[in-house]
Symmetry: D2
Subunit: 361 residues, 4 copies
């Protein structure tokens, strides 16, 4: 099945190529990168020199649109900066079986949020309406018949996977939720930026976008309530470690009943009951790995994989439910997630082209 | 002034030596390290080979006790593992002008907490009672006349400096406070431990001691209320980045009045008012640096220094006050703090032997 | 095909498991780790929790020997410390189709070198004689019919692949060769060692084993001449970057003739002629990637892969040929190499279970 | 004494400020940075927010020239990119007591090398002639009366300090010398460059400028012979680890005589004899630290300091003398060196404003 990538020169593009190379049914046949037109993939990514795709030349977005419209290509992955996919998708979608957009352009259902958070006005309202949100774990049914998938990014995926079932099942209330999340710096992309130099990032941890980050409204859309979102950078290339703090709802415990537990469960038992419910919620999701209550996921454990590790903990003193989730921001938080939902939309095994074994050490 | 270090072979000991070497009034005259008896400082720390202290031989704790009791030494810094200083301090304190203990042995006023969190029973209750808590910013008066100082550690210092004035002034309530803190791995010490190998820590962020960490009761003692404490390791050697989340108390705003602000201040204005109050609270503290509301401290900005950078932010949606603080865990979170309170106790300028300029980049 | 791993708890063991999990014909059925008997693979490697192998319990070496001798197992990988495989291999080899040893126990043809460099006397001389050196690129024929393979390690592989063809074809003389090689710290293994802590290795580059390293005689055995070998550690987990400096032999140029080049080729042309000869030498080796003369391999380009990137350069001023080679020490320098030669010995496609696409960024 | 910095916004500038802040006689009174005119030092370097220099506003180079020519300033440090100091120095030198240039503009005595290696033609030949090369250890006398100092950079300092005395005393011949040097990435400066992003540099070691690097002719000028220079980047912020390989001259041994050694000294003894001669050569240099033969300097041991650690080793097999030297590229390899030679030129203690104790861990 012939696939193309628009905007293939960034880290998301590199990671898409890594997956496509090991995917049994996908064949990369074209790639655009407006700032690298004329270079080959092998020139930009010397580590792919051994592969046949290294001979593919980057073309302009316009030329790739033309190529797609000549027919033969079935899938396009859009890995361009925010605000560019809405320019391209309308021109190609009718020639393709599937478009998966990795940018924010089709994620937010309220179009006015684009003016406020992304500095552009959304002009493709019917496509926005048609787009299916590409979080397979929560949306498998719609994705399986989608033509346009809006694939969510790293922070939003890590936080949503952790919080959605807690709120959906009523385990926690929606009062004063905090999501405190650490990210590797590759999430900032491959742009030439002094702030992201090795000399600046090494040995440094810091917060940014405090209270104003554009992923806050997207998380709110997913979980159905606003929250305080605190993104931070820590000195690693890949990985998200998200911790969410929410108020426990004791009535949930009464509702579910407590099998094999005394009338008043200990805090540790409450944590285990919550973990059990989460495990059940994700029982059909091969990439979600609910860990033992009280343990912690590690970003290194998911490095290079499409897995999400999540653990839950109940703190009796503050009556809070803590969730910790770890993903690789470039895989489950970007390219891997896009491949996963493409697999579902195209009727393939969800796991094709994706790894579960991380590079340890 | 002659000083000695008990337990000088760990990272805290190395950092004490670094300060003492540039301190105009301290002269290191003895160092113990039970596991390195007979080695010189220069053998264990080749980077100090150039210095005269490199010839000092590590002796046993017993031999250093004997040396102290022969007289001439005025100050002892105790950098031994928890549970060991209470064995040594009673044997030397009467021969000395000042003892500064960097371990937890004299920090907790409730002795039963040692049984629960440190696996030993405290047997030196009168010294525990006499010991002064060595956080100069909150306790300058008592420290100036102390004979035995219990110097607090990294997490506790970062969290306490951020939260204490908020609670003390009534800016926040004590309900459901969360302290989420990131640490460099040097906080785990210099022990041979597989989990702290470069190959394990690089590229990895993770939580540990979830809900059970021994620094929770010490923070609670300092701020006067229990809280949820979430320590995490991120891949850097030094640095603490602590974020605290607490519920804003609107009555505080009424109480302080709002000069130069409309009747209903915006969230941003509330953040600035809080920051102003904190700046005033710490106006006499040369090592506390209150930053602009909405900005973030960076661990790299305090690397190698005794400074604490703190910023405050008010989030209108959740009505929470966020504080972010950054310190170097081995300086303001260990050795630097000990030197600082020794300076105050001995009547020296608080800043002697301590740096404020970090190693950037 | 059932395989077992002796000594599976170190980094080599972890990497073997990573390959075996994606190998279409290998099934892991047993693993020994004397220091972790009774633990499961999932307990030691939480990142494998999702996989069926996570349920496998580590047994003692003795119990795994017994299991092998009950039959059914066809291949054993030995990932034990030096000096241990010679205890085990004699007890199992007759029950197996293939034994691949990742330690040094069967690599050195001169048994007296074990006394001198490894502190044990070699007692299995006939097995030592039978053992085939597992560098597929130089030894494909013998490996294809081997029963016992001595699989070389990281430094030796990187240096031998770079130097062997230069000496074999007479491009360089064997006078005063220098091999200066950088290694990631995972090469030092998973032992609890203060010197390998994150806090010690971060920001530090240094040499060790100067002139005395035990890999010097093994390289000398491979290339047929002694040399100065300078191993160094740089702050990264994986990767070897080896640079070799040897004296150019101008008569080689006359011997090969110089097609399409002036009578006196420029230094750049000499470099390109050498590169061309090396490319031809390795033309049947899918994992060797000869790069353009004057360019440099990067350790990151081979991260997680079994590829070796090598470039050659001729320096006119000093008349030296410089070779630079990069491999992942745990893959082409350990587990991947073992899998590769097992594939050849068992008649499989050389590339099964091995990746060529690195994790970038 | 009033000092100014031209080009103060890069890493060299930041490091100059760090030294000046602790220097007892220097007072920073002006700083230029053409790309940051109007910003204050505190805005560009938030970690200096606590200091009075944070209020200093960056001005243009032109405005700083005017300020200097109004009088009162005594010293200018030039931390501008190559090719810019020759524009500025002629306009200010007559108003100043001392100019120290950290760029290459006055380092090479053969002006034609600027055309070849730096892409500009040198137009200030009399200043070039007047300029004194600022390596205090080799040039103390001339520096003490200099008005214009050309301060050498990181690679050149590390290699020259190691090789100069070997060649000067005749310990080695000048045939086929190789200098293989590792550098932290801060040596590449603070420019916005994709290749220097954390995501690119982390986990990566690689060579560059192979055979063509512009520091090759400068090293050759210093040591009096050409050589093969192989610069490499390893994943750390600061530090140079240089290894040089040269042919031993046995006649030197005869010339110096061998006290207390048998007629034919062992290789180890030769190494120790060489080390002793080097120790004597540098006996008046407080910042050079000759280590035991066979040991290795570590970049971490000199982090943040102006020290150079060097060790020497003799390899009997290849008859080569190996030298290993470690410096902090931003201190002894840039700003610290400039301060050191300014101290000498101004008659101050050589060590003022400079540290010898590194930040360990």
């Amino acid at each position: 099945m012939k696939v193309v990538i628009f905007g293939a020169s960034g880290y998301g593009g590199a990671e898409l190529i890594r997956s496509i190379l090991v995917h049994p049914f996908f064949e990369l046949t074209g790639a655009s990168a407006n700032s690298n037109v004329g270079s080959t993939i092998g020139e930009l990514y010397p580590h792919l020199g051994f592969s046949e795709v290294s001979q593919i030349e980057f073309v302009s977005n316009e030329d790739l649109i033309t190529m797609v419209n000549r027919g033969g290509v079935e899938v396009a992955f859009m890995a361009m900066p925010n605000g560019q996919a809405i320019q391209v998708v309308p021109k190609i979608i009718d020639s393709l079986r599937l478009v998966v957009d990795l940018s924010a352009d089709f994620r937010l259902k309220d179009p006015t949020l684009y003016d406020r958070y992304y500095n552009f006005s959304h002009t493709e309202l019917s496509l926005l309406d048609e787009a299916v949100y590409g979080l397979v774990e929560l949306n498998r049914g719609s994705i399986s018949s989608a033509r346009l998938i809006a694939s969510p990014g790293c922070y939003v995926t890590a936080v949503t996977l952790a919080l959605f079932p807690l709120l959906d099942l009523g385990v926690v209330t929606n009062d004063g939720i905090v999501a405190d999340a650490l990210s590797g710096i590759s999430g900032a992309g491959r742009g030439a930026n002094v702030a992201n130099l090795f000399s600046e990032i090494d040995s440094s941890s810091f917060a940014y976008g405090i209270g104003t980050h554009r992923h806050r409204p997207e998380i709110a859309q997913n979980i159905g309530t606003d929250l305080l979102f605190m993104p931070q950078v820590v000195p690693m290339v890949r990985g998200i470690l998200a911790k969410t703090y929410a108020q426990f709802n004791p009535q949930w415990l009464e509702a579910v009943g407590i099998n094999g537990v005394d009338d008043t469960p200990s805090a540790m038992q409450v944590g285990e009951i919550i973990s059990g419910a989460m495990k059940e919620f994700y029982s059909a999701s091969p990439f979600v790995d609910i860990r033992r209550s009280g343990s912690s996921p590690m970003t290194k454990s998911v490095l290079g994989t499409n897995r999400a590790e999540i653990s839950y903990f109940y703190d009796g003193t503050t009556n809070k439910v803590l969730a910790i989730s770890a993903i690789d921001n470039l895989v489950k938080g970007a390219a891997g997630q896009a491949i996963q939902s493409a697999n579902v939309a195209l009727g393939f095994d969800e796991e094709l082209g994706l790894s579960k074994v991380s590079l340890i050490p």
